[in-house]
């Protein structure tokens, strides 16, 4: 048994508990602690990859951990397969850079800010590693309750309203998931993922249907898929840009992970197919996608536009994953990575640019490109990736998604992907053109600073440019990421491997 897994949760958790302790004595010690812990957590992930490199390349990688030495199904089991590893790596990389970005970006209430950020990190790793359905619920609530204060971080009216909405819908979604957990326990008498997966197919059909529907509603509320999309744009745009990047880029991906793990490995995809729910999910998700694109087009506020674009992309990811072919899951996971990189890049760049404008409105972005031309070039490249132009990672993932839809001869899906690409072109090009517009009238005082100080300007710009470079570089060499993603897709497609690895010795 390998103790390394538990440290992925313990290190950020202990850091969060230590920060208020250290904060009393010295500000500087807290900064050192934050940086050190972020690096430590990141290097634990790297250590796992290096020490199991051979198994990862052969796609047989599997780590498990019995908490308190209780063998499943009695206690709680942690496990890490290729799918968890893929998500864990994405989270660690993006959070390390988001924390570095925050050091330059956030200048007040830093103590509590980093406490909450590290708690979110711990919660995300808890969700990804856990092998217990109630533990999953606990960590989902932890992630909700620690991200809501950050939504209201600006302490203005808009942020507070957004946080209230975020909290209400998150809590209601959590209740639905809790009802699902209760039904699972009532019907099966167990809470362990592998144990549930083993005996779930023996249940009568209506029990299975009820459990599935409660979990589906809960996850869709938290993901912001079509009938529940209304809270997402406000919550994702009212906070500081570093938090927008976290919410829109990383946290929604954790919900995608929960969706994959529950419906492909634990409950099994057969139940969705038996009840005909898979077609319904695809239709709902595609509706969500096209609606997100249309709402983004009609939006005049750059951060809300980016948030609606998240709704659109999440719809596409859920739809393509539900096709349940190997190519489709590969495409879905590739788009998870692509969307994460591009959204974080766009939000970090936007956070810098918005420091020079009086508001988030399109008209105020006039001429903002000349403030930092390199960064704006990165913004333009990433936006092009979001649209789906060739050298960027967005092209690769969209190409695979199109192929996956055509492969299942699901033509409506491919039409919506292409239509979405066209709409996306129009709303991104609008902002880029405005950014390059020179100001013909008015003195240069037009650009009055909202936040009077830049805490560390160079850190902010460098991180934003770094993500833009990552979008291009990963896009060019995206074939290298085939190996791990294929392993993750294998783990998704073969739930029996997961069951046997946990229960069998």
């Amino acid at each position: 048994m390998n103790n390394i897994l538990i440290y992925l949760v313990i290190v950020p958790l202990a850091t969060a508990f230590l920060i208020p302790f250290v904060d009393i004595f010295s500000n500087k010690a807290r900064k050192i602690l934050v940086g050190f812990s972020a690096l430590l957590e990141f290097s634990i992930g790297i250590y796992i990859i290096i020490s199991n490199y051979g198994e990862i390349t052969e796609h047989t990688f599997f780590l498990k951990y019995y908490l308190g030495n209780w063998i499943p199904p009695i206690g709680i089991t942690l496990s890490m397969d290729m799918l968890s590893l893929f998500f864990s790596t994405l989270i660690s990389v993006s959070l390390l850079f988001i924390i570095t970005y925050s050091i330059g970006f956030i200048g007040h209430h830093e103590g509590k800010y980093y406490v909450l950020l590290f708690l979110i990190w711990a919660a995300m790793h808890g969700i990804i590693l856990t092998g217990d359905i109630f533990n999953l619920d606990v960590f989902l609530e932890l992630m909700l309750i620690t991200s809501a204060p950050l939504v209201a971080f600006k302490r203005n009216r808009n942020g507070t309203e957004a946080a209230i909405k975020y909290m209400f819908f998150g809590a209601i979604g959590g209740l639905f998931i809790f009802i699902g957990v209760i039904l699972v326990y009532f019907n099966l008498g167990t809470l362990n993922f592998a144990d549930i997966a083993q005996s779930f197919s023996l249940l009568p059909l209506f029990s299975k249907k009820m459990i599935i529907i409660f979990f589906l509603i809960g996850i869709f509320i938290k993901l912001g898929i079509f009938p529940f999309h209304f809270w997402l744009s406000k919550a994702h745009s009212a906070c500081p840009s570093s938090i927008s990047a976290l919410l829109s880029g990383v946290i929604v991906k954790v919900y995608i992970y929960v969706f994959i793990r529950l419906f492909f490995n634990v409950f099994g995809f057969d139940i969705l197919r038996e009840t005909g729910l898979d077609i319904i999910i695809i239709v709902i998700a595609l509706t969500s996608s096209i609606l997100g694109h249309v709402l983004a087009l009609s939006e005049n506020d750059i951060k809300r536009m980016l948030a609606y674009s998240t709704v659109a992309n999440l719809g596409i990811i859920v739809a393509v994953l539900t096709l349940n072919t190997k190519l489709a899951i590969l495409a879905g996971l590739l788009h998870v990575m692509a969307h994460l990189l591009m959204k974080v890049s766009l939000f970090t760049a936007t956070g810098y640019l918005l420091q020079f404008t009086p508001s988030h409105k399109l008209q105020d972005l006039k001429g903002v490109a000349y403030k930092n031309i390199i960064l704006f070039a990165g913004f333009t490249l990433t936006a092009a990736g979001m649209i789906g132009l060739p050298p960027m990672i967005g092209f690769a993932s969209k190409w695979h998604i199109l192929q996956a839809f055509l492969d299942r001869s699901f033509h409506w899906g491919s039409i919506i992907v292409i239509l979405g690409t066209i709409i996306a072109f129009f709303y991104y090009i609008k902002y880029i053109i405005y950014g390059f517009k020179t100001i013909s009238i008015g003195p240069p005082e037009r650009f009055r600073l909202i936040l009077s100080v830049f805490y560390r300007e160079r850190v902010v710009t460098n991180i934003a440019i770094l993500f833009a470079i990552a979008v291009v570089v990963v896009g060019v060499f995206f074939k290298l990421s085939y190996g791990p993603i294929e392993g993750a897709a294998n783990a998704v497609m073969n739930p029996s491997i997961y069951i046997e690895s946990i229960l069998g010795g």
Binding site: F134, V138, E141, L144, I145, A148, P149, A152, R155, N156, R157, T160, E161, A163, I164, K165, M167, F168, A171, I172, G174, L175, F178, I179, V181, I182, Y185, F186, L191, F230, K234
Partner: protein, 112 residues
Amino acid sequence: MINHIVFIFIFLLGFYAILVKKSLIKMVIGLNIMEGAIFYWFIAITDRGGIIPIVQSTQVAFNLNDPIPQALILTGIVIGASTSAFLLTLIIELNKFTDSTNPDQLGGIIED
């Protein structure tokens, strides 16, 4: 049967409060009613007609009630309490800006 009826009635009562009431604090109370309904239901349906799961000595007791739902509900209560505490904080904050707790000022909880 009666457990399901009571659960659904209380649960939907809480949901009704969230949909209809014109005060955010009442909506938080509605959320708590929904949670309470779920906790009641979980205990009720897993009842085995046994004794409480605490024994007096080390001898093995038989026909105990299931202790796992109780442990899970204890966790659920704490989660619910933290959620409502934080929601109330946000309502206090909102009241500072607008001097009201009407949910319509959020641009309608459904729209926007």
